[in-house]
């Protein structure tokens, strides 16, 4: 049993009559990078506020290092937060912003100076201590906010969409930097974002949330390759979702044909949904293809072409291909059995992982 740093036990948060979080339970291990991913209003920021202590849960328990922290106020928790809008104190300069927490803890002047300078170096902003906040760029403010949180040596660092205000390039850079920092310091990071790419690139584990519930949790590859349902498949990356029938284990029927796949454990003739990622489909000639479709549009995306086809059943297929095709032409779509992922209707996360285990075990 690995030591858990943050535990949620049946946590529910209501605001008046609206349920924001519904009976959430999870355990987070020490030193990992977690991401809460979901659309706005899914409850991810509320989860963060509960961990930080800015809000109190309506019911359930929150534990830190196996100790209940329900009624411990935010200032007594060994948790620090990096806010979405940075929330730097406008009346203090960079140095004093970072020193805020240490001054509150009445550390000696010498120690404060040492630690702040160290933190500034860590976020690659040495010699910026005397600057006013208004003189800093967005990316620099972001780093000050991170330094201000980390200088307190928290056990858990919460990050609430910290990169959403940055431009694309800076954002990618900061993704690397954050991941690097987390590995170096060994602190548990809990990162909140609605950007699936960001989540996939940085996390050890992702929690996909919607309507106040955790829909699916797992490593980035597990979630990408084996989405639990249509919501997860749609939210994480692009996908082709078509309806089909499970003929038998490893036999699935869709688009008028039966194909070999690698999934099983369903009932015979059970209606299911099939997920095929656009990059897993290859364009060939109509004779060689497993499914034949007519190209209805083609968009040049730089790295690849985005092609949309329809098959005879009227299913739409999105394909990413480096080869160019002609709009209106009949093309064949080819894919491996491994590329086909089957989703059952209304399967819960527990049932899903249970089935995977049972089926792969047999």
């Amino acid at each position: 049993m690995v030591e858990s740093i943050i535990t949620f036990r049946n946590v529910t948060k209501k605001y008046k009559d609206t349920v924001i979080l519904e009976n959430i339970s999870f355990k987070l291990e020490k030193g990992k990078f977690y991401t809460l991913l979901g659309p706005s209003g899914c409850g991810k920021t509320t989860t963060l506020s509960l961990i930080a202590g800015f809000m109190e849960e309506s019911s359930g328990d929150i534990l830190m290092n196996e100790q209940k922290i329900n009624h411990i106020p935010a200032n007594k928790r060994k948790i620090n937060t990096v806010f979405q809008d940075y929330a730097l104190f406008p009346h203090l300069n960079v140095f004093d912003n970072i020193a805020f927490g240490l001054k509150i803890k009445k550390k000696s002047k010498k120690e404060i100076k040492e630690k702040v300078n160290e933190a500034l170096k860590m976020v690659r902003l040495p010699d910026f201590g005397d600057r006013e906040i208004s003189e800093m760029s967005g990316g620099q403010k972001q780093r000050v906010a991170i330094a201000r949180a980390l200088v307190n040596e928290p056990e858990v660092l919460l990050l609430d969409e910290p990169l959403s205000a940055l431009d694309m390039k800076l954002r990618k850079e900061m993704q690397y930097e954050l991941r690097e920092l987390q590995k170096r310091l060994g602190i548990t990071f809990i990162f909140v974002t609605h950007d699936q790419e960001e989540a996939l690139a940085m996390s050890d584990e992702i929690f996909v949330m919607n309507h106040g519930k955790i829909i699916q949790r797992g490593t980035p590859t597990a979630i990408y390759d084996e989405p639990l349902n249509r919501f997860v498949a749609d939210f994480i990356g692009e996908s082709n979702i078509v309806e089909g029938t499970m003929m038998a284990d490893e036999q699935v029927k869709f688009a008028g044909k039966t194909f070999e796949c690698v999934d099983g454990g369903m009932e015979e003739n059970e209606p299911i949904e099939v997920v095929l990622r656009p990059e897993d489909i290859e364009v060939t000639t109509a004779q060689k293809g497993k499914v034949v479709g007519t190209v209805i549009s083609q968009l040049f995306r730089g790295v690849h072409y985005e092609i949309v086809c329809t098959d005879i059943d009227g299913n739409e297929w999105k394909i990413r291909s480096t080869k160019k095709v002609k709009v209106g032409a009949n093309v064949g779509l080819d894919f491996d059995p491994e590329a086909i992922h089957i989703m059952r209707f209304n399967e819960t996360e527990t049932e899903f992982y249970q089935r995977l285990e049972n089926y792969q075990g047999s």
Partner: protein
């Protein structure tokens, strides 16, 4: 362009007629002695005669006290107002009395504080006996503070209302308790509201004269009273103007002291 010039010229005209010209006249008048000579005797007298210096001290002292009292009442009031549900409504109710003429309010207080007024009636009913409330320094300051209160609450309310909630959360997050958060974040970030409140209250309080007479019973003689006396009773317009000039200078000084200082930076 033409229309803009028209608007601008009307503004300049207004400024000339009602701001610059009166100030210039006062300034000129302040150098005219009671005999009609152009001298600086008025200024010499002001700084030589003890009575004037005492008045100056009284004005500053009482204006300071009034400002302090209003500030002490206003800050918590404004703070709790920002946290109420219908804050705009409550704020309106506080601003409402400013629409009533100050003289009417002063007379209302004469009624309230008089020997047979509601305050004394209540005191008697409680068995504390009736007291002379009117024409005391306390009642003068109370009424002055009451009248100035909305002008102090408003800028402070705005400053607190505009304060970013996440800054409070950050402060808590970084380990500060409620008091430390107030002292290190809320207070310094609402200081500008306090400064404008102090300006708006302190400066007019320097030259209060109606209230000193009606409520304070002329026990406190401030510079405002002195100006009135010089113009209307002794007819020494020169001396009245001199005090006026000194008051204007004091106001400019206060504005300068409480004004927003440019933050240092590179």
């Amino acid at each position: 362009m033409k229309a803009k010039g028209l608007y601008f010229s009307s503004y300049v005209l207004w400024l000339l007629l009602f701001v610059l010209a009166p100030v210039a006249l006062i300034l000129y008048q302040s150098f005219i002695s009671i005999n009609g000579n152009f001298t600086i005797t008025n200024y010499e007298n002001f700084f030589k005669i003890v009575a004037y210096l005492r008045m100056t001290f009284n004005s500053v002292f009482y204006a300071g006290l009034i400002t302090l009292i209003t500030l002490l009442i206003s800050y918590p009031t404004a703070y709790f107002l920002t946290r109420t549900k219908y804050k705009q409504l409550w704020l309106m109710l506080i601003i409402l009395p400013t629409w009533i003429n100050i003289l009417l309010k002063a007379y209302a207080f004469i009624g309230i504080f008089s020997q047979a007024g509601p305050v004394n009636n209540s005191l008697e009913w409680l068995g504390l006996g009736s007291h002379q409330l009117l024409f005391t320094n306390t009642s003068f300051m109370l009424v002055a503070a009451y009248i100035e209160l909305p002008f102090m609450i408003l800028p402070i309310f705005n400053a607190i209302d505009e304060l970013d909630e996440s800054l409070i959360n950050v402060s808590r997050d970084l380990g500060a308790n409620k008091f430390q958060t107030f002292w290190n974040v809320t207070f310094p970030l609402t200081l500008n509201g306090i400064k404008s409140g102090v300006q708006v209250v302190f400066i007019p309080s320097l030259s209060l004269f109606m209230l000193t007479r009606l409520i304070g019973g002329n026990k406190v003689i401030t510079l405002g009273t002195a100006i009135e006396e010089n113009f209307l009773v002794t007819q020494d317009w020169g001396m009245g103007s001199t005090i006026g000039v000194i008051l204007i200078a004091a106001m400019i000084l206060i504005m300068f002291l409480t004004g927003e200082k440019k933050r240092r930076g590179r």
